[in-house]
């Protein structure tokens, strides 16, 4: 291909022609999102029977490894997807919040089952009516308990969300807080 220094399109032609077979161009942002979506490390916050269903999802039959989310960690420091599986009582609420806050960003939360999502049939004096009272939730899964397919669908939804680049709730929160701080400073000055 002939290069002509006077041709304004010369550089562009060069780049378009450059990729060899098996090489793709993309943006760094997109690649990071793709990698994050495909390597979620779940932290199970299991308090009831939903946690049993979660076990079957990560075991061989339903095999969550197919979606890159099988590395279950029991330390919030090492995980980025919290799966709250079960009833969370008011006494447990500050513990849930503490563990969520110990997770490193970026982080996501799946509320598995009706108890975690809305209190379920525990409309009572002791159960939180949805964990979103204390932690931000990205995907809610209905069911009592949800089927393994239900949880897998939720993880696929979360992956879509991550790949699309939708801001996670922690991001929205953090940005809101930063904006609040800025306006506080403006008021102060």
């Amino acid at each position: 291909m002939g290069l002509n220094a006077s041709d304004p399109d010369a550089g562009r032609t060069e780049v378009a022609a450059a990729p060899a077979e098996g090489v793709f161009t993309t943006t760094l942002d997109k690649m990071v999102r793709w990698a994050r979506a495909g390597s979620l490390w779940p932290l199970p916050f299991g308090t009831a029977c939903c946690a049993i269903e979660f076990m079957s999802v990560v075991s061989s039959h339903y095999d969550l490894a197919r979606f890159g989310a099988e590395v279950v960690r029991f330390s919030p420091r090492q995980s980025d997807m919290m799966i709250v599986a079960g009833t969370v009582v008011d006494k447990q609420a500050p513990i849930l919040k503490l563990i969520y806050e110990q997770m490193c960003a970026p982080k996501w939360v799946i509320s598995m089952g009706v108890c975690a999502s809305s209190g379920g049939f525990y409309r009572a004096y002791h159960v939180m009516q949805g964990i979103d009272e204390v932690v931000p939730v990205d995907v809610y899964v209905p069911g009592c308990p949800p089927t393994p397919e239900g949880l897998i669908y939720a993880i696929l939804k979360l992956q879509e969300k991550i790949e699309r680049g939708d801001p996670s709730h922690w991001q929205v929160e953090a940005e809101r807080r930063a904006a609040d701080d800025r306006s506080q400073q403006l008021v102060g000055s």
Partner: protein, 184 residues
């Protein structure tokens, strides 16, 4: 069926026994509140009765039945030797909800009595640690009372101390056994 149990209790406690019912073999003995501790101790120590096992301590709120006294504390006893059971009930008035503890008779009643205190607000005199067991420290009221709104919740902002029953010394011993790298 369990006649010897009711006869034994009547013989030993006389007027303190308010009522006895034997409904299809389920023996229930109502006893005056002031004598309930004596009666429980007797049930355990009398060789004929030998109720070595206190299966449960609970309570009933008779508010909607217009009950006077309002509450009853209920003990379920079982004898491994004779295979007999007895239910001991003692009426507790609303304005003075106190009963003597049975922890010195069966140590297993420790948590049962705390649960009754938590749920009904009935205090057990002489209990070594009379505090809530299920609800958290910022909870107010007693949820199994009939006049407690079923869905009234109390939020807890900071984790409750779940290990406060363990003495400092015991905690030290437990900590020294933990060998996870994070704990060091």
């Amino acid at each position: 069926m369990a006649e010897f149990v009711s006869e034994n209790l009547r013989r030993n406690f006389g007027d303190a026994i308010e009522r006895v019912s034997d409904d299809r073999g389920d023996l229930t003995v109502w006893v005056t509140r002031s004598r309930v501790h004596d009666l429980l101790a007797h049930c355990k120590r009398d060789p004929e009765l030998d109720f070595c096992f206190c299966m449960d301590v609970t309570a009933v709120d008779y508010l909607s039945l217009g009950g006077v006294p309002r509450f009853a504390v209920v003990y379920h006893l079982y004898s491994l030797k004779t295979g007999k059971r007895v239910r001991v009930k003692a009426g507790v008035p609303e304005d003075d909800p106190v009963v003597d503890t049975a922890v010195d008779v069966w140590r297993s009643t420790d948590w049962f009595e705390r649960e009754v205190y938590d749920m009904f607000g009935i205090r057990f005199e002489g209990h070594p640690n009379m505090k809530r067991i299920l609800c958290h420290r910022d909870f107010q009221g007693h949820p199994l009372r009939k006049d407690y709104p079923a869905d009234l919740r109390w939020k807890l902002l900071r984790p409750d101390d779940l290990l406060d029953e363990i003495s400092g010394e015991e905690m030290q011993r437990i900590r020294s056994r933990v060998s996870h790298p994070i704990s060091e």
